[in-house]
Every structure is written in C-alpha cells, then in structure tokens.
C-alpha cells in the first residue's frame, strides 16, 4: 500500500516537474581554475566550518532552513516568509554573503540527487535575486543525499533532509 502511494506521489510530482521546469539559457562553465596536487592519502577536509558566521537574529532570520516536498524544487508557501526575510536583510546588507546548500533525501541515484539538491538551491537563489539581492552575494553548493540533517529511512527523516540551508559567511 505504501508503495502504491509513493508511486502515485512520484508520478504526480514528475508531471508537475515536467510542467514547471524552467528553461534558463545554457551557458558554458567558466574556464578551469588552477589545479593543485595534494599528497593526500591521509585526511581531506575538516569538520569545523570556519567560513560560517552567526548571521542575523530574529524570529524569521534565525530560521536558516527551507524545506521541500518530494521530488520538488519549488519553495513551499510555509517557507515564503523565511525566504522573504532573508531577502530583505541581504538586500539591505549588500556586503553580506550567503552560501545556499541544497540537499536531497536518500532515495534514488546519488549523482542525480546532486542535481536535485542544486535545483533546490537555485530555486532559493532565484527567489533572493528577484527580491533585490545581488548575484555577488550568493553562491550555491549541492550535497545531494550525502549530508543528511538527520539519520533514518522514513518519511519524517526524508522531509527534514530535503532542504536548502542558508549559511551566512564571514
């Protein structure tokens, strides 16, 4: 029964996605950055996020996570106020930069989920740009399903993991 419901939801969402897919002008990526060689059999990457900062406070501005429905990348009605509050703050503080980190739940293919996380990050980015935030203030990264907020293979965990985190940068 659960499978039937899931399939139905999936088919419905896919239809929606097809209907609302945006058509940005394809542009080639920028030229390669300088490559670097690392003697790295050992450790790569540390846990402490030394690029992040506390950022603004307040009822809406302290909320930094935007959640999404299954297989969707449109900002839900219940997240509009949070996104608008960050948009207004960033428009008023043009030197402040944020990183939009897109995520997917664990179902499906990992690299395809990187694409889904990116689509969500871009949705928040477009909403902020439309509200007057400058392009230079925004960067996106997609972690796909690789960095879940919570462990677990149930609907509750999936819902918490389909998200964009707004990270204020130093």
């Amino acid at each position: 029964m659960k499978n039937v419901v899931l399939t139905t939801v999936l088919i419905a969402s896919l239809g929606f996605m097809a209907a609302c897919k945006t058509k940005p002008e394809p542009t080639p990526p920028p030229p390669p950055q300088q490559t670097s060689d690392t003697s790295g059999v050992g450790d790569a990457g540390a846990t402490v996020d030394d690029t992040a900062t506390g950022g603004p406070t307040g009822e809406l501005l302290s909320k930094r996570v935007v959640y999404f429905d299954f297989d969707r990348a449109d900002i839900r009605a219940d997240s509009q106020a949070v996104v608008s509050a960050h948009a207004a703050f960033l428009a008023k503080n043009p030197s402040q930069k944020v990183r939009l980190e897109g995520h997917a739940d664990e179902r499906g293919s990992r690299e395809y989920n990187i694409g889904l996380g990116e689509r969500r990050g871009q949705a928040v980015r477009r909403a902020l740009l439309l509200s007057g935030v400058a392009e230079a203030q925004l960067s996106t990264v997609s972690y796909g399903e690789e960095r879940p907020a919570v462990a677990g293979s149930d609907e509750q965990a999936y819902a918490l993991n389909r998200r964009v985190e707004i990270v204020y940068l130093k």
Partner: protein, 435 residues
C-alpha cells in the same frame, strides 16, 4: 607535457608509503542459492609451513567459486581422503560422492624464498585432467594467487574468465548524521584485504576506476564545494582535475584512460556532461539541455556515452554517439525512473537503477531487445557496477538503515551480501582485470 602533469609525475616518483589498513572489514554471506550449481571438491592443498602464513588457499578458492553462483563446493567433512595431485585422485570414488570436478594442489618454496602453487583439476565424470598449472608468488601475495587459481578453474570449466583476482573500491561512512566520516576503500573482490586510500569529514562519492586499474577518479567535498580528483592507486598521489564553479561530479574514464567525462553545472545550476582531456585540460561540452544530465558511462569501445537525463520530465537513460553531430537518443522506456547506467563489458547490456513498484532496484536491460529484467530485491538499491567478466553486478543496498554491498549473478539467481562490521558501505565499483 603540461606543467601540471610534470609536477604530478614528479610526485609519483617521490611517492613512498601506502594507505593504512581500514577499519570497515566486509563479511561475505550467501543470501540466495543457486538452482543447479556445478558440484566441485576443492581438496585442502598441501601446505608450505611457515612460508604460507597459515593461509588456507583451497578455502579461498572454494569461496570464490561458490560466490559466482555457478559452483557448489563439497564440504570438507564429507571428504574421505585428501589427495594433493591428480595421480592420487580416484575419479570413480569422487564421482560416486556426486562431484563433477576435483581440484587438488600443493604449495612449495623456492630457493629465492618465493612460494609455488601447483594445481590440477580433474573431471571425475570422465577421469580426464582439465587443468594443470603452476603459479609462483611472493608469500605476501599468496591470497591474490589463490584468487588467480579460482580464476583459472572457473575458466577451465565455464569458458569465461574468472574475476576473482580483481579489486573493488567503495565508500565507507561512519558516525551519526550530520557528523559523518567518509573513507574511500580498496579491497579484493571478495571484500578481504581492505585498505583506506582517503578519508575525509566531508563527503566522498562516485569513485571510478581507470580501465587499467591504476587510477581512481572520485568526487570530494573537502573544499566545501565539489571537486573531481584522480588518484594513483599504487602511490596514493592525487591531483585535482576539476574545481569549476558549481557542480563537479560523476567522473567516468574513457576506455583509453586519456579523458574523463564529468558533470558540470556552472553558476546557473544547469547540469550537463563534458569531456575533459587530462593531458591538455581541454574541455568539450557533450550535452546541452536545461534538465539534469549526469552519470555518464562510456561504451567499452569508447564510441558513445550513456547517461541519465530528466529532459523528458523524469530521469531516463540516453545514449550519445561521440563521433560528432550525434543527438542524444533515449534508451530506457520501462517505468518512470531509470538512472545511473553502467555498460556491460561486452557492450550489449546496461545495468541501471530503476523504480520498480515503489522500490529502487537494479535492473539490466538488453540493448538488442530493450527488455529489462529487475535483478535486486531491496527497497533502496543503487550504484550497480559490472564485474569485468560481465557475469556479476555489485551494488549497494540498505538493510535496517545501514548501507551494505551485494553481488548478484547476471541471471539474478545468486546473490551475496558484503556487510561492514562497522558503519555503512556504499558506491561499490568493480575494477578491471589486472595483468
């Protein structure tokens, strides 16, 4: 030679130590049997004490053969004697005990300190010798030699090269979300002998072997954003080959090892597939579509790539010829979700991740008839990868919330599970035949 390549070459020359041992040891268990396996007795080999280090070579051989799904090994407790040469094998008696084949062997030492492994295989149905071969090895490589013995027996009986003396790479993850710890591991195809080649507190994903088995490409988020690296397996030396704005993902080696297919997005978030020439760094765009294009895999002859695209509204697999002027052509039509294609070594079949009645499973599609057969039985299976002989697929599944690895014979009859004793394992990739 570019400066970068020169620098890389120098670093390879200067390279010394290898990776440290990993903690995630895999255990192999049979999860489903075979209907009609070939019965074989692999008799314990005559030992070379202490040079063999206590390794039970015949046991490694028997486990390999059984893991293929094509063989059933005779339990040792049922054996009435332990011949170590073909001349000592009483074919009629072994046939009476319902064996088709008997493998016998003996280890020896050479003056130089090497080990010799002599193996003979007898068809006890007709009493004829099928195989008689000697291997010479350093004691440290005895396990690999045991896998090569299994390869030779497998080929002598089935006509197909065995893939037991090959390696797999996979990603191991431990910790509790969101504080996860990632390791890239290389192990023997049976999960033994694991060693860590990289560890990180940020995600590692999408390992891919070069066709000569000397290099791995992978995605690392160690710089907070994604970048693609290539790493020489023997030295551990690595080089960042793509850290462009946006996504750098899904690396796939061209069969000649000179190029990588990559997924790049640029700043606007539009994922398309590109071809990166490793020596010149020249970048060629292969796809150009507003949907998600990713997960490229080369046809074995290098003439085309297969990839995932949701240009039709849901992820499906497409083929793009690389001779120039070709347009992507959709190749999967069964169901609403087909992704992460991998091409069989003979180029005649695709393994994909498919949504099958609400469960994510691995299926194979015949590229001649386009019929699809679902192989796996889990609810969240992913990341299929063919053994180099095309007889098995390794994949990742989920059990009680933990990622596990599984191999399945291509007819779907046999499956084996590889569990980690700690943490979870994912994204297995089967390496090529080794010289």
């Amino acid at each position: 030679m570019s400066d970068r390549m020169k620098k890389l070459a120098l670093m390879i020359l200067a390279a010394t130590g290898l990776a440290s041992p990993a903690f995630a040891q895999l255990r192999l268990t049979i999860t489903s049997g075979v209907t009609d396996p070939i019965p074989i007795a692999v008799v314990p080999f005559a030992r070379a004490v202490p040079a063999d280090g206590g390794l039970d070579v015949a046991n490694v051989v028997q486990r390999d053969l059984e893991s293929s799904g094509r063989f059933k090994g005779m339990p040792r407790t049922d054996m009435i004697n332990t011949p170590t040469s073909a001349a000592q094998v009483d074919a009629a008696a072994w046939k009476q005990m319902r064996n088709d084949y008997v493998a016998v062997g003996r280890l020896g030492t050479t003056a130089a300190g090497d080990l010799t492994v002599d193996v003979e295989l007898v068809n006890v149905l007709n009493g004829q010798p099928v195989l008689s071969k000697q291997w010479t090895t350093k004691p440290a490589n005895l396990r690999n030699t045991a896998h090569r013995v299994a390869d030779a027996i497998y080929k002598a009986i089935t006509g197909i090269p065995g893939a037991f003396a090959t390696r797999i790479a996979y990603v191991s993850v431990d910790g509790k979300a969101p504080n996860l710890h990632y390791q890239l591991i290389i192990a023997d195809a049976d999960g033994e002998n694991p060693r860590k080649v990289l560890q990180s507190d940020r995600p590692l994903m999408s390992p891919a072997w070069s066709s000569d088995g000397k290099w791995l490409a992978y995605v690392s988020f160690e710089r907070r954003v994604s970048a693609v690296y290539v790493q020489e397996v023997s030295s551990g030396k690595r080089s960042m080959v793509s850290a462009r704005a946006g996504i750098n993902g899904a690396p796939a080696w061209s069969p000649d090892g000179k190029k990588l297919a990559l997924t790049l997005s640029g700043n606007n978030g539009n994922l398309d597939i590109y071809l990166l020439d490793l020596a010149s760094q020249a970048l060629t765009r292969l796809t150009d579509d507003p949907g998600i294009d990713t997960e490229a895999a080369f046809a074995p002859d290098g003439s085309a790539i297969y990839f995932t695209s949701d240009r039709s509204g849901s992820p499906q697999v497409y083929k793009l010829g690389l001779s120039g002027g070709d347009r992507p052509r959709r190749v999967t039509f069964t169901g609403t979700y087909n992704a992460r294609p991998r091409v069989s070594p003979d180029g005649k079949q695709l393994a994909v991740l498919t949504l099958d009645n609400g469960s994510y499973r691995i299926a194979v599609q015949d590229l001649g008839t386009n019929t699809m057969q679902v192989l796996s039985k889990g609810s969240q299976d992913e990341s299929p990868s063919y053994a180099p002989n095309g007889a098995m697929v390794i994949l990742a599944g989920r059990e009680r919330g933990q990622g596990v690895l599984q191999t399945i014979s291509i007819d779907g009859q046999t499956s084996f599970r590889l569990n980690a004793d700690a943490g979870e394992v994912r994204e297995p990739v089967w390496g090529p035949f080794l010289p």
